[in-house]
Symmetry: C2
Subunit: 174 residues, 2 copies
């Protein structure tokens, strides 16, 4: 399965992971969020090759995640800003960062955020209707309007067609 075919999977995890499913892309978005937003500063921060950064930035701009803003005319210099879609990825990356802090950072968190409320940020992914955490055991899947069967969803589609809410583990089926 090629990368193009992969994004054809009727799954929003596949489609969004395609956006950040690259070693550099999450770090570029991290940097732009932190105001490290010019080509040269990105190269200097990341130690990435200029060719690779050019390619990644082009993809992010084409994908509607970043946009370019000229900030100097002679010579022309531009910086990169998050679009609305890009901004909405930041909380997801912050949640991912907190996972890395907990499970992959024996020396402690490399970077900490203070939230506007004054607390050192600890995140939860919650259901906005009730405010409770979206823990794995609290989620009951069903096919959505864009669902279809195919590579990447073949068994899921079968199960969702049979039982609208199938339990995560067979022996836990009510």
């Amino acid at each position: 399965m090629t990368r193009a075919e992969h994004t054809e999977i009727a799954c929003s995890i596949a489609r969004s992971a395609d956006v950040i499913g690259d070693a550099w892309t999450p770090l570029i978005l991290r940097d732009v969020h932190l105001g490290i937003d010019t080509f040269n500063e990105l190269v200097r921060d990341l130690g990435i090759s200029r060719a690779l950064l050019t390619a990644r930035l082009r993809t992010l701009v084409a994908g509607g995640i970043l946009h370019e803003q000229p900030y100097q005319e002679r010579p022309v210099r531009r910086r990169y800003l998050l679009t609305e879609a890009g901004s909405e990825l930041i909380p997801v990356l912050v949640a991912l960062m907190r996972w890395g802090d907990r499970w992959r950072s024996p020396d402690g968190a490399p970077l900490v955020f203070t939230h506007d409320c004054g607390a050192q940020l600890e995140t939860a992914v919650v259901c906005i209707a009730c405010g409770d955490a979206a823990h794995p055991g609290t989620l009951h899947p069903a096919a959505g309007p864009g669902g279809r069967s195919g590579p990447g969803t073949r068994v899921i589609a079968e199960r969702l067609a049979l039982v609208p809410e199938f339990a995560p583990q067979p022996e836990e089926t009510p």
Copy 2:
């Protein structure tokens, strides 16, 4: 920079993205969460080659994200379960899925979750202290105990050393 060097960056986004920064891994975790948890069912759902799935599962088990559980003796069959670390990735993937629903799914969400509370799940990444969303503009970065300067954090480290809370965009500094 090699993949091994990439995980050496003092950044929890780099370290956690390394876990799911692969086209297949988020979908394998999605499937195991949904109870599609045996080797053969994963192959059938994903259309992934057996060799590639074997490699990905081995990495996820070695990384403490999945563990194997035998459920039949003759012939030996095993299924894959999420560890605690793996379970904690699921809400992050669900938040990523919701981003993909909004920004990459013109036909509508392929999969919808009903939350335990009865609402169709819409997620937010929130600060657990105040319950408000961890929007980009509400986050003030500082160096943490595991922070250090090096490729991947060179400019960040400079800026955090100079100004404990530097604003994301210069002109938006209060």
